[in-house]
Amino acid sequence: MKANLTLFFLAVFLVAVWAGRDWPAIAKIMPVYVAAIPGLILVVIQLYREATGWETRRGRSGGMEMDEVQEVKLDKQTEFRRTLQYFGWFIGGAVGIWLLGIVIALPLLVLLYTLIEGREKWMTSLVAAGCTYLLIWGLFEYMLESRWPQGLLFG
């Protein structure tokens, strides 16, 4: 899987080099010569390191860990299931905004998430959804008169 992400980067840089092949030099400098070609070379080096287990053998270079590292300790199946569920909810929320508009979709997302995923009481979920509605409609649409776009179904 780790190699898959590196392969994805390889594909991105290859597409960038290919897409920029006919551009004038001025448009090419940054995306092709500064980003894509060096990126391509680095990805190849990284793939070699992954294929030969170089990193594991040498250990990571010194220095600090500058980004959070996933530290959740769950069995693989549970982690996979929960990750899929999580992204399912998130994508569902985004699709809801597209179809229903943000004013309906976000309170609905809060209601369903707290009710189904969180197994909260009906009343608690309704209050949470009501507060969300008040924030989105009351603050933005009513008080600030900042209109959110209608959903596809109502547009």
């Binding site: 992400l5 940054m30 270079s61 980004d67 590292v69 992204f87």
Partner: protein, 511 residues
């Protein structure tokens, strides 16, 4: 008749001693605090846009009090989101997430908030002080920075990838290259070439940095809560530490605050750098220069550095806005609109004709900073309790912040697609050790670097490399890069010798 600067400063202060001015400032401070805590859809540009038609009918100083009060506090209180939710705050407060969120997860939200407010307040005061001092001297300094100098500064910023890549240099460079590549999406201003647009009108203007940062940091942070089912299956780490600990941390690191504040002021003063880079440059500087750091895992200095720089930047912004008359962003542009509506022309003319008004702004900036810091302390103790709320509420709250924040950028459904795509990318990058900060740095600097390189070559050919300021900056950039790489190599040697030592010890045990 021209008055002395001292008289102008005194008169500027006396202008504030009216009830309506103080009330307007307090209203502004409250709006700014609310804006910092509310979802990203309610940014300071929107507040200014809404307030402008109202305040221009007021007395100038009263209107300025509301506007300056709001913007100054909004920056100070911007650390709530990164520390409590792991969601990058508005631009200028994104790097705080790197250490603020790990601190929040460890139960040290109060300490992190205390440090951020204290650093923010100090940064704001340093920025204000610099603004006051700059009034007689800023102009020649600002005109010294042309496109060639700015390009070298960007290059210097990019060299910080060596720091932000952390323990994974190759992966960090790949991430930075990806960031640089993404920065070039859209129509190139200089040549008109459509780059990586693939016939999609959405991509013509490029992809918004704030959507990418929101997705890449916010979505994986919320996922952590959903995975561990925080508050249901896994108990939330009880809150420990006090706000005062954060204050003490900041005072202990006063030298870092001072350095990062000057980074902030400088970014504010130099036209064209913008608030997107200030926190990353300060964070990179802190990670580069602080010894014995635990950056990326909840080092309080990783909160102090970006927050002090971000708040000091406002003072720098005002230097160019008031003394030269050109805006540094949407907010300062709207501020200039308000000044023009009152009949003041910002720039040299205003310095000459209305110095007392400039000093009123200086005083307001400083006082708002102090009030904002106090309000931050007052609210922090309550807001820190959010870190203990169970995931069933926290995850949907974070969904609201992320989806609303992303959708409010262009109000285009494609924004939602982009936020999902970069959320997934952020998840995999974190999982497989590709440092996301390096990518964001590439993204932030890429566009500016290209712009300044083009302007330098177009204006001076290659003779821009001979400009004295360019040479000095290049030497400084190279020296800082070499020191960083040397430091990394030393710690690498230490790590490998300790690994070797460990392996030998294990072999001895086994034998």
């Amino acid at each position: 008749m021209e008055i002395s600067l001292f008289d102008a400063a005194a008169k500027g202060f006396l202008n504030l001693l009216h009830l309506q001015v103080l009330v307007a400032m307090l209203i502004g401070v409250s709006i700014g605090t609310f804006t910092a805590v509310a979802p990203q859809g309610l940014g300071m540009p929107l507040v200014y846009a809404i307030a402008l038609p109202i305040v221009i009918k007021w007395e100038p100083v009263t209107g300025i009090a509301l506007l300056i009060g709001a913007s100054s506090v909004s920056a100070i209180c911007a650390a709530y989101l990164p520390i409590l939710f792991g969601i990058p705050g508005g631009s200028g407060s994104q790097a705080t997430v790197l250490d603020g969120y790990p601190m929040g997860k460890r139960g040290e939200a109060r300490r992190a908030l205390g440090a951020s407010f204290m650093a923010g307040g100090m940064g704001c005061l340093i920025g204000t002080f610099t603004l006051a001092l700059a009034i007689p001297a800023a102009r020649p300094l600002i005109y010294l920075m042309g496109s060639p100098e700015l390009f070298v500064v960007m290059l210097w910023g990019l060299s910080m990838v060596a720091v932000l890549a952390g323990r994974r240099p190759i992966k960090g460079l790949i991430a930075a290259a990806l960031g640089l590549l993404l920065a070039t999406v859209g129509q190139q201003a200089q040549s008109g070439v459509m780059r990586f647009v693939f016939d999609q009108p959405y991509l013509l203007d490029g992809i918004s940095i704030s959507i990418i940062a929101l997705a890449m940091f916010g979505i994986p942070s919320a996922l952590d809560l959903a995975l561990t089912k925080l508050g249901v299956e896994q108990k939330a780490v009880p809150l420990k530490g006090k706000l005062l600990d954060g204050v003490k941390d900041t005072l202990r690191n006063w030298w870092l605050v001072l350095r990062c504040s000057f980074v902030g002021v400088w970014v504010g003063i130099v036209p064209g750098l913008g608030s997107q880079v200030v926190d990353w440059l300060a964070y990179g500087h802190a990670a580069q220069s602080c010894k014995g750091g635990n950056f990326g895992k909840g080092d309080v200095r990783g909160v102090i550095a970006p927050e002090s720089a971000n708040d000091a930047k406002d003072g720098g912004d005002l230097v160019t806005t008031l003394l030269l008359g050109f805006p540094q962003g949407v907010v300062t542009a709207l501020f200039i609109v308000a000044l023009l509506a009152w009949g003041f022309v910002p720039g040299p003319e205003m310095v000459k004709k209305n110095p007392e008004l400039i000093y009123s702004v200086v005083w307001l900036q400083g006082i708002s900073g102090i009030v904002g810091t106090l309000i931050g302390f007052f609210l922090a103790a309550q807001l820190a309790k959010l870190a203990e709320v169970r995931y069933t509420f926290m995850v949907p709250i974070m969904f609201i912040f992320i989806l609303m924040g992303a959708f409010s950028v262009n109000r285009d459904p494609v924004d939602l697609l982009v936020v999902i795509a970069f959320g997934v990318l952020g998840y995999f990058m974190r999982r497989y050790g590709y440092p996301r900060p390096a990518m964001i740095l590439g993204l932030v600097l890429g566009d500016l670097m290209e712009k300044y390189l083009y302007r330098s070559v177009a204006s001076y050919g290659f003779s821009w490399l001979q400009r004295p300021a360019v040479i000095i900056l290049l030497i400084l950039a190279t020296a800082s890069f070499v020191f960083t790489v040397r430091g990394r190599m030393k710690s690498s040697q230490k790590a490998s010798s300790s690994t070797l030592g460990g392996a030998m010890a294990r072999t001895a045990d086994e034998s």
